[in-house]
């Protein structure tokens, strides 16, 4: 492991251990000593949140713990942000997220947005009770890679399909990866409405986003060649 890698691991551990002040202190030290590289984002912050979401999935952590981890990640990111080069940060991808029309429940969606953001993605959170049109317009202006849809109530789930229909009607379906999630949603439902993916937790959501954006960049690189 490189020197940065080793130190970044401390940051990752501080984040996963819910140590907000420690994470901020490590980040501040890195900035003052002038040894910041983009590696710190990937191996420190993203890795730390990865550990945290894994602990959540294993039942070790619950929502409050995961939120404190995200707070620690955010504290470190805030300190790094002035030094981050824009292209590198934007390079990972952009995600538009929201609770679909008719649904005002958004705590789960907020957590997913936080975790994806802390993994280094640019996230535009449209809030709750978001109509299909707003998702599509935001995805267009934001040049998103992924549209992530949340629903907590069985009664609002049909509005997820509205977004997909609208994308199809505007010939935009191929432009975006559509991810769905929320308590009543299932993989079978995702397939039925023609979504690209389903995530049962914040951790699986971020891993799915990483996979599809990586594949997409790989393809576009090959096309350029």
């Amino acid at each position: 492991m490189t020197q940065t890698g080793n130190q970044a691991d401390h940051l990752a551990q501080a984040i996963a251990a819910m140590e907000v002040e420690e994470a901020a202190a490590i980040a501040a030290a890195v900035v003052t000593t002038g040894c910041f590289t983009m590696d710190w984002i990937e191996k420190g912050i993203t890795a730390g949140m990865g550990q945290a979401s894994r602990l959540y999935e294993e039942g070790e952590y619950f929502i409050p713990e995961l939120l404190v981890c995200a707070e620690a990640a955010e504290a470190a990111t805030r300190i790094f942000r002035p030094l981050m080069d824009d292209s590198a940060a934007a390079g990972k991808g952009r995600v538009v997220i929201g609770s679909v029309q008719g649904d005002t429940h958004d705590i789960g969606k907020n957590i997913v947005a936080l975790v994806i953001r802390s993994a280094g993605y640019e996230v535009m959170d449209l809030g709750r009770d978001v109509p299909a049109r707003a998702f599509v317009e935001a995805a267009e202006t934001f040049q998103a890679d992924v549209i992530a849809l949340a629903a907590l109530m069985t009664t609002s789930m049909p509005h997820m399909e509205d977004v997909i229909h609208l994308l199809q009607a505007q010939q935009l379906r191929e432009q975006y990866f559509v991810l769905v999630g929320g308590k009543p949603v299932s993989a079978a439902f995702a397939r039925r409405i023609g979504a690209d993916g389903y995530a049962a937790s914040a951790g699986t959501a971020v891993r799915w986003v990483e996979k599809v954006t990586r594949d997409k960049q790989e393809i576009s690189r090959q096309e350029k060649k």
Partner: protein, 555 residues
């Protein structure tokens, strides 16, 4: 087309290939309980396939994951398994268990003069019937002594019907039953979703009308009262239950901004109910989409607006509906607690029927005291048992502050309990009896549910500027609420510690309020006016809710 044979019920049904086992059962008229209406989250529609050829069925991936043991025993989810060829299915006959449901029918009430809406006058050989002084019909001979009404509490899970003599105000008989709608869709949201389609609404409406008529028949048989002498029925229940009972599409209740189609505070012809041909149904006024007539009845029964000081009234169920009354000022709200308190989404969860563990206590030496409904051994945990278990495990330290099960090596709890901490499918579980246990995921479900109730309480107190110490009295209503202990609620932080010694269980006040509506006409216009002054505190729009909720998740 393939044939499905339901062994236990000895019934066969032929269905098109690709039909789910659940749909096949419904077509055959067999009830396979499907609390989540087949979306694959609850796992309760699990059935066993008997010697099934692998090409005769296909299991779709569902949210609910079967354990390796269950898969080995050929268990599948009826809702996510398609029939491709002939199958023999073993589906539990749940009827017996549901017949033994423990339901609280009585609730706290108040004194009021007898002055029913329905009255009779005999003159010239005929008896005239009046509803609110308006002539509605006539009967041969003198029937003035035969004047009855029915107070029905339509709970999401249970129904309670009481036959009342309107001349004396006395309850002649009372009967309870499972709400048959819960077999098709357990929680309120799932039911709204199902009833948003015409065929779903018809199924749910027909089911509940049939249940009402069945109860009317039984009550009449038990008491010798003729059904045609029942002139009025009160429907008390949550807003969704009222819509469904009146055959009104509840779609708007399930979508922000959650508006109601009905307003309540009116009478309807009794229509499909088998009572007097000029009978009517009174619907108590609705407070909001999620604070329903059951709460209006509760306010009436508890006379909350007249109580000096501050009273908090909570109906704990799938939704935690609550009213805070401070010297005549009333505010109400509702939080989505989810079905955990009904024993749903809990691995060993069940309704409060035979075999349900309903009481759990840990002694100082680590030995445990339990109470199981019926005669046999515990086969599952009902809502009150679940809250007892979690409250006690938090108190002794088996469950830590964050909700994590504490491993015996790290725990400071009695040795006797350490032996109960075992592993199942590679995950820690805590055995409360020899075969009933609690998993980490179960604890998380309870945290979400109790966190929602606590957050609702906190937000409501904040809206009226009331500190927890200033609350003089806390009334817990609902048939579920009656089996609870104050300590269980406080130990797990569903209610603030400042409420210690102030909690009282008032029983089914939806039912006792309904009786008051039936036997005293003045209560109707009074409550119709009062409801307009109850402030509706809408939580989902408040940005502070998330923080309050997250803080309320820990123990």
């Amino acid at each position: 087309m393939p044939e499905v044979y339901f062994q236990q019920q000895e019934q066969r049904v032929v269905v098109p290939s690709g039909t789910t086992i659940l749909a096949a059962a419904r077509r055959a008229g067999i009830i396979v309980e499907s609390p989540c209406d087949g979306i694959g989250t609850c796992g309760k529609c699990m059935v066993r396939l008997v010697d099934a050829a692998p090409e005769h069925y296909r299991c779709e991936e569902a949210h609910y994951q079967l354990s390796t043991d269950q898969l080995a025993e050929s268990m599948v989810l009826a809702c996510h398994t398609q029939v491709l060829g002939d199958l023999t299915v073993l589906a539990a006959d749940t009827e017996k268990q549901n017949r033994s449901l423990k339901i609280v029918s009585g609730g706290a009430g108040f004194e009021y003069p007898l002055d029913p809406w329905i009255t009779k006058k005999f003159a010239a050989g005929r008896t005239k019937v009046f509803a609110g002084d308006q002539f509605v019909g006539e009967e041969d001979g003198d029937t003035t002594e035969k004047l009855y009404g029915l107070a029905i509490d339509i709970g999401t899970t249970t129904l309670v019907a009481a036959l009342i003599d309107l001349r004396s105000g006395k309850e002649l008989a009372s009967l309870s039953a499972l709400n048959p709608q819960s077999l098709h869709a357990q929680d309120v949201i799932t039911r709204i979703h199902m009833a948003s389609k015409p065929e779903g609404l018809k199924l749910l409406h027909d089911a509940i009308c049939a249940a009402f008529n069945h109860m009317i028949g039984e009550l009449c048989q038990d008491t010798g009262v003729a059904a045609e002498h029942i002139y009025e029925v009160i429907y008390s229940g949550n807003t969704t239950m009222l819509h469904l009972a009146c055959n009104v599409n509840p779609e708007l209740l399930g979508q922000f901004p959650y508006t109601t189609v009905m307003k309540g505070g009116n009478t309807l012809p009794a229509g499909e109910l088998m009572i007097s041909p000029f009978g009517d149904i009174y619907l108590p006024p609705i407070i909001s989409a999620y604070v329903g007539p059951d709460i209006t009845s509760g306010v009436l029964a508890g006379q909350l607006e007249k109580k000096p000081g501050t009273t908090l009234f909570i109906d704990i169920g799938t939704n935690g509906e609550m009213i805070l009354a401070q010297d005549g000022r009333l505010a109400g709200t509702s939080t989505a607690a989810g079905p955990a308190f009904e024993g749903m989404n809990i691995t060993c969860g069940m309704r409060a029927g035979d075999g349900a563990l309903e009481f759990y206590q840990i002694e100082e030496d680590g030995s445990t005291k339990t109470h199981v409904l019926g005669d046999g051994e515990a086969v599952g945990i009902c809502g009150s048992g679940l809250l007892d278990i979690i409250g006690e495990l938090v108190r002794v330290g088996v469950i830590g502050k964050t909700g994590r099960l504490i491993q015996p090596a790290k725990g400071k709890y009695p040795d006797a309990l350490k032996a109960s901490m075992k592993e199942k499918d590679g995950k820690p579980v805590f055995y409360v009896t020899n075969n009933v246990y609690i998993t980490q995921a179960d604890i998380r479900q309870v945290q979400l549910a109790k966190g929602a109730v606590r957050a609702g309480v906190e937000m409501l107190m904040a809206a009226l500027g009331v500190a927890p110490e200033k609350v003089d009295c806390v009334q817990i209503a609902g048939s579920f609420g009656y089996h609870l202990q104050e300590s269980s609620l406080l130990n797990q932080g569903m209610l603030p510690a400042a409420f210690r010694g102030k909690v009282e269980f008032v029983g089914n006040t939806s039912q006792s309020g309904a009786k008051a509506f039936l036997t005293n006409r003045g209560t109707r216009s009074y409550m119709e006016r009062l409801v307009k002054d109850i402030r509706d505190v809408e939580l989902s729009q408040d940005p502070k809710f998330q923080d309050v909720f997250v803080r309320a998740l820990g123990f």
